[in-house]
C-alpha cells in the first residue's frame, strides 16, 4: 500500500529519547507536534498522560515506546488502551530494569490462567 508510513513515538528519560532520536524516529517541525517527550524529574504526570493520549489520538503513530517506570505512572491510561494500533511497548530505563509482571500486554496475555481453564 503506497503512502507515507507511520511514526514511532517515544516517551522516556533523556538518554532513551536521545538514543531513539539518534536512530532516526524524531519528527519536529513548525506545523506538527513532536512525536517524543523527554520526561524529567519535574515533568508532571498530567503532562505525561496528556502526551500519551495525544499520541493515541494521532492516526500517524504506529508504535509508542515508553519507559516502564513512566508507564507505571499512567498505568490506568495504558490498561485502558485495547486497540492494536498504536502498539504500546514498555521498555526498561537506566534506573528501572524491565519487569515482565508489570507489562500490561503480558499481563493480559497471561490472563491469570486458572486451574479450571485446563480441566
Amino acid at each position: 500500500m503506497a503512502g507515507r508510513g507511520k511514526l514511532i513515538a517515544v516517551i522516556g528519560d533523556e538518554d532513551t529519547v536521545t538514543g531513539f532520536l539518534l536512530g532516526g524516529i524524531g519528527e519536529l517541525n513548525k506545523n506538527r507536534k513532536p512525536n517524543f517527550l523527554v520526561v524529567e524529574k519535574d515533568t508532571s504526570i498530567t503532562e505525561i498522560e496528556e502526551t500519551f493520549k495525544s499520541f493515541l489520538a494521532r492516526n500517524d503513530i504506529a508504535i509508542i515506546l515508553i519507559n516502564q517506570f513512566i508507564a507505571e505512572m499512567i498505568r490506568h491510561a495504558i490498561d485502558a488502551h485495547m486497540q492494536s494500533i498504536p502498539a504500546v511497548l514498555e521498555i526498561p530505563s537506566k534506573e528501572h530494569p524491565y519487569d515482565a509482571s508489570k507489562d500490561s500486554i503480558l499481563r493480559r496475555a497471561k490472563g491469570m490462567f486458572s486451574a479450571e481453564d485446563f480441566r
Binding site: 539518534l22 536512530g23 492494536s84 502498539a87 521498555i91 496475555a109
Partner: protein, 231 residues
C-alpha cells in the same frame, strides 16, 4: 461420535495452547534482545558523554526541525493480526538536498565577492539588494539551505562534525532496537489474539464437555437401573 468430537476439540485446544506458548516464548526472547540492545545503547551514550562532555550529549543538542528517517508500514491481515514493517528512508531525499546546495554555492561566492569589497554605503546597498535577491530565491534555496538545519540529516550531526565512535555505536544499537520494536509490536498482537481465541475455545469446550458428561452419566444410570431390574 460425541467422544470423537470431544477428542478433536481437545486436540485443537492443545494445538492452540502450544501455539500460544510458542509465540509467548518468542516474544520473551525478542524482548530480552531488545532490552540488552537498549542497555548497550545507553552504555555507548554514556561513553560518548564522558569523552565529549556532559552537556554535549543531551536534549540541548536536538535539532529545531527534524524529519523521521524511519517509518512504520502497518498492514492489517485477515485473522485480525497486524503486520508492522519498519522502513528506513533511502538516501534519495538526501541526494535532492545535495543537488540544491549548488545553487547556494553559486550565490555564496558572489556574495562573498561583494562582501569582500570595501564596506561603503553603496556596498551596503548592494548587499541589501543581493539579500533581497537571495530572499526572493529563498523558497527554492531553503530546502537545500537547510543543510545546516536539514531535517533529513543524520542525527549524529546534531552533536558535532567529529563524533566519537561510541556515539555511532549507540546509533547503531538504537537502529536495531527500532527494527526489533516493530517485530515485537506485531508479536504482541499475535499473542493477545491467540490468548483470546484460546479462552473462547476453552469456554465452548467446557460447555460441550459438560453436556457430554451429563449424557454419559444418564446412560450409565439407565444401564445400572436396567441391570437391577433384570436381577
Amino acid at each position: 461420535m460425541g467422544v470423537l468430537r470431544e477428542e478433536d476439540s481437545c486436540l485443537l485446544l492443545d494445538e492452540k495452547l502450544l501455539y500460544f506458548m510458542d509465540q509467548l516464548e518468542l516474544l520473551e526472547g525478542k524482548r530480552k534482545t531488545l532490552n540488552s540492545l537498549i542497555e548497550q545503547g545507553w552504555f555507548s551514550i554514556s561513553k560518548a558523554r564522558y569523552s565529549m562532555g556532559n552537556k554535549q550529549v543531551s536534549a540541548l543538542q536536538f535539532a529545531n526541525e527534524m524529519e523521521p528517517l524511519v517509518s512504520v508500514h502497518v498492514r492489517t491481515l485477515e485473522n485480525d493480526e497486524v503486520e508492522f514493517c519498519a522502513v528506513r528512508s533511502s538516501r534519495k531525499c538526501n541526494d535532492k538536498f545535495v543537488k540544491e546546495p549548488t545553487s547556494i554555492e553559486d550565490i555564496g561566492p558572489q556574495e562573498e565577492g561583494i562582501r569582500r569589497r570595501r564596506n561603503t554605503k553603496s556596498d551596503v546597498a548592494e548587499k541589501k539588494t543581493s539579500e533581497d535577491i537571495s530572499s526572493e530565491k529563498a523558497p527554492e534555496v531553503n530546502p537545500g539551505r537547510k543543510r545546516d538545519h536539514n531535517p533529513q540529516q543524520d542525527p549524529l550531526k546534531w552533536f558535532g562534525i567529529l563524533v566519537p565512535q561510541s556515539l555511532k555505536q549507540a546509533q547503531s544499537s538504537f537502529k536495531q532496537v527500532i527494527e526489533l520494536s516493530a517485530e515485537i509490536a506485531a508479536l504482541q498482537i499475535v499473542v493477545l489474539n491467540a490468548r483470546q481465541e484460546l479462552k473462547h475455545d476453552l469456554r465452548n469446550n467446557d460447555g460441550s464437555t459438560g453436556l457430554n458428561t451429563s449424557a454419559r452419566l444418564n446412560e450409565k444410570e439407565a444401564d445400572v437401573l436396567s441391570a437391577n431390574e433384570s436381577l
